[in-house]
């Protein structure tokens, strides 16, 4: 079943020409010529009923793939020219043909994947697929490819179909269905452009750089955070573990914190300096202090990094929020695995709330003047 579907799809795919313009030029040429005896090219599929009489049985059967068996009728002897495509009279024939072809390709690949039990995928598997990295041509280039001026809606229709195809291709790639994958790639590569490929490469490189979170030669991360009108620049560096474990005087009491009676070295602690001032001096409010250290706490990195921040602008809680965002980004820079935790806690999101402007006719942003009855 699977092979039948694949084979059919392959044949179908091979039918999809990568250079549709030439085909249609020929078709158009064939329409414009008066020679009635010139038969339509073998790759054309639709034959209007009136022209069927002109064509031979053999020519029809020679196609090998019958789109419409029901339309097989004895060919009349008329010499009317055959429009190359059913969408000829739409004046955007290639566009509509492409849509139809892509939809057929989609349904065939869907059938093939379903036969291999690769569809429908559960949501966790869909999320686990490698990310889509499209290199589709932009609207102008697509208009050239499809030989029709495209509106945004028309372009979007094409791109949506291509995206779905791309998803099936990714599924096939992950499932090691190489034939299906190559078949879909053959179709979709006709819609990629050089510019799109370049843009995709740039995006990939940028994401890699972002993911890596550049650390400088001393192993410090440099991140920026903003909140309201405050901006903070934060450098985070790993706490140096003491090489000599007996350097610190050790408490020899049993405490809740120590796991055993044996003398254990004290845990490393994070030092936080803000504008060269310890955090306890800079932020007198416990809430501000807790906000600054919350990313480290949630990520379990307390005592792992020392923090140095330069902050400017705004008030106390604005500065505290800015530093917290920068610290969260710094944690991700050092330990990328904590990103989902901090994202879930909404600590990687720049708080977009700003002071709302005052409006005319109102006392403040929302406050109205006292309503007077008369």
């Amino acid at each position: 079943m699977a092979t039948v579907g694949l084979k059919a799809f392959e044949l179908f795919a091979s039918r999809l020409s990568c250079r549709p313009p030439r085909l249609h030029v020929l078709a158009l040429r064939s329409l414009t010529t008066t020679a009635a005896t010139t038969p339509p090219p073998p790759n054309s599929r639709f034959v209007p009923p009136a022209s069927l009489e002109t064509m031979d049985e053999a020519q029809l059967e020679g196609d090998g793939f019958d789109v419409d068996r029901r339309s097989r009728r004895p060919r009349p002897e008329s010499r009317r020219p055959v429009p190359p495509s059913p969408a000829f009279y739409t004046a955007r024939s290639l566009y509509y043909d492409t849509l139809v072809q892509l939809q057929s390709a989609l349904s065939l690949s869907r059938r093939a994947l379903r036969a291999q039990h690769l569809l429908p995928l559960p949501p966790f598997a869909l999320r686990a697929l490698p990310p889509a990295q499209p290199a589709w041509a932009n609207k102008a280039e697509m208009s050239l490819i499809l030989q029709a001026p495209l509106t945004a809606r028309m372009y979007k229709r094409v791109v949506m179909l291509l995206r779905e195809l791309d998803q099936y291709e990714r599924i096939a790639r992950v499932a090691d269905a190489t034939e299906l994958e190559d078949a879909i790639t053959d179709i979709t590569k006709g819609f990629e452009s050089k510019k799109g490929i370049q843009a995709r490469d740039t995006r990939i490189r940028a994401r890699e750089v972002k993911e890596r979170g550049p650390l400088d030669r001393y192993g410090r991360s440099y991140t920026v955070g903003r909140r309201k009108t405050s901006a903070a620049r934060v450098w985070m560096i790993e706490v140096q573990k003491p090489k000599d474990s007996t350097s610190e005087p050790v408490a020899n009491t049993t405490s809740i914190l120590s796991s055993s009676n044996a003398t254990t070295p004290p845990p490393p602690t994070s030092t936080v300096l803000i504008n060269s001032v310890p955090i306890s001096n800079y932020f007198p409010l416990p809430a501000d202090r807790e906000g600054v250290l919350r990313p480290l706490k949630l990520a379990g990195l307390l005592g792992a990094f020392n923090v140095f921040a330069l902050v400017r602008g705004g008030g106390t809680s604005g500065q505290s929020g800015a530093i917290a965002l920068a610290v969260a980004k710094g944690c991700v820079a050092h330990v990328p695995e904590v990103e989902p935790i901090l994202k879930k806690a909404k600590l990687l999101r720049r708080d977009p709330r700003m002071v709302e402007r005052k409006k005319t006719g109102l006392a403040k942003a929302r406050k109205r003047y006292t309503w007077v009855k008369r």
């Binding site: 005087p249 050790v250 009491t253 845990p267 602690t269 994070s270 706490k297 307390l302």
Partner: protein
């Protein structure tokens, strides 16, 4: 408004009487000036209080601050320092009272065990009737802290051992060369260090005199009268209270001491040489007006004897170097060396008066912003001054009083092991509202930067995390 001193009142009345009699002699009409009768304290009146028992005011006595519970309860109502419910009254099972009592097992603070091996350990202060903490009182923030905890305790640090070594040296030499001032950033543990020194010396058979809130000497809360004999303003009530407390705490030791010289007391003749110091103190406690003189005499006698070393411990040390809030008749502020009690402390702090054996230890405090560290004291101790500049004035008398003070610097941050011990004490005492795990400890230690007060008050007790 301060009440007029009794001597001024008598003087006015006697003047009026004289003028009247003169007028009668010379035939002039007598001066008809108003004589005001000020309300007198009526002794022996029992005011019914809401607790259902009455507090009877004894004649002439001001009542101890930390004495009996009855007195303390009514006093607490006025002073509004936090007072927790007794654990026995928490009967609901939610409070887990049965699990609270035996949780905090700490070694007792004893001078014998105070060595380097015991640093970063918490030791509990002993609690008896005549304990210096109970009698002399405590600084307000430490009082509240020890009310939250089940028993007063403290963590021994390296500075504690340093100070104790210095006290041991001072017990052999005099206080002339052992005048220490404990300095450090706000909340680093200066008052607690002073308490540890106080307990240590008390247990080592020193005679201790402790002023937990020296600000009360200079903030115009205690009465003052002008004494023409000494040309200073005396503070009889405070002197009387000090004598009472000195007697209560050091009674048995003062029994052994006798005066070397006779002490002249105004209006009561002289106290002969050879009287026990206890009797001398009792002369001052019988009459408030004599208290300042008697106190000065007692301290000078203590300074001369060599049987027991003497510790004079002063918290809020910088307050006695600031201009006081008292006003003279011209409404200008009185300098501290013109008031009897601050002057006495300044003289011992500067070495003008000395103990033959003993030390003077003061602790700076930055809690009260109306009595900040003055420029003269900051310069003498080598600390960065709060106000400076080319036009800043320095009072030469205060500069003289600040000469020769040596500084004991308390580190700004607790070490991790000390902080661990402190955290442990609070956790075992069930005093932390959050779950006491290492995440909480690390978070609060980092947030406070190791500062002890911030670690406990703004960290553990102020956290909203569960």
């Amino acid at each position: 408004m301060l009440p007029l001193s009794s001597c001024c009142r008598h003087a006015t009345r006697s003047l009026l009487a004289i003028s009247d009699s003169n007028a009668i002699c010379t035939g002039l009409p007598a001066l008809r000036t108003q004589v005001r009768n000020y309300a007198k304290a009526r002794p022996g009146v029992a005011k019914p209080s809401s607790h259902g028992f009455s507090k009877v005011q004894k004649k002439g006595k001001g009542g101890e601050l930390e004495g009996t519970d009855q007195v303390a309860a009514t006093k607490r109502k006025r002073y509004t320092a936090f007072l927790p419910m007794p654990v026995a009254q928490l009967t609901h099972p939610l409070f887990e009272t049965d699990q609270r009592n035996g949780q905090l097992q700490l070694q007792n603070f004893h001078p014998e065990i105070l060595t380097d091996a015991v640093t970063s350990q918490a030791l509990a202060f002993p609690q008896n009737d005549k304990d210096p903490f109970r009698i002399f009182g405590l600084p307000r923030n430490l009082l509240v802290e020890y009310r939250i905890l089940s028993k007063p305790c403290s963590v021994i640090r390296d500075v504690t051992i340093d100070v104790i070594n210095k006290l041991d040296a001072a017990s052999l030499e005099g206080s002339a060369n052992h005048r220490l001032v404990v300095a450090g950033s706000p909340g680093c543990g200066k008052s607690v260090l002073l308490l540890q020194a106080l307990q240590y010396s008390y247990m080592r058979d020193w005679i201790v005199l402790y002023f937990p809130r020296a600000i009360n000497l200079v903030n115009s809360t205690t009465s003052y009268t002008y004494d023409p004999r000494t040309l200073t303003y005396t503070q009889p009530v405070f002197a009387y209270q000090t004598l009472e407390r000195l007697l209560t705490v050091n009674g048995p030791r003062l029994e052994h001491l006798r005066t070397q010289a006779s002490v002249e007391v105004e209006r009561r003749g002289t106290v002969p040489a050879g009287t026990t110091l206890v009797d001398l103190v009792k002369v001052g406690t019988k009459e408030q007006a004599l208290a300042p003189t008697v106190l000065a005499a007692v301290l000078s006698e203590l300074g001369e004897q060599t049987t027991f070393p003497v510790l004079l411990a002063i918290d809020d040390f910088q307050a006695i170097y600031c201009k006081t809030k008292y006003r003279d008749p011209h409404y200008s502020r009185i300098q501290p060396y013109h008031l009897s009690m601050p002057r006495l402390l300044l003289e011992y702090a500067s070495g003008l008066r000395r103990f033959a054996r003993g030390a003077v230890v003061g602790a700076l405090s930055s809690t009260d912003t109306t009595f900040k560290l003055p420029l003269e004291l900051a310069e003498a101790l080598g600390l960065p001054p709060t106000s400076s500049g080319p036009y800043a004035k320095r009072v030469p008398e205060l500069q003289d009083y600040a000469k020769g003070l040596s500084r004991v610097s308390v580190p700004d941050a607790l070490t991790v092991s000390e902080a661990t011990e402190l955290f442990d004490v609070w956790a075992r005492d069930r005093a932390i509202p959050a779950v006491p795990n290492d995440e909480l400890f690390l978070a609060k230690y980092s947030e406070s930067g190791g500062n002890a007060r911030d670690f406990i008050w703004k960290g553990l007790l102020s956290t909203l995390t569960l």
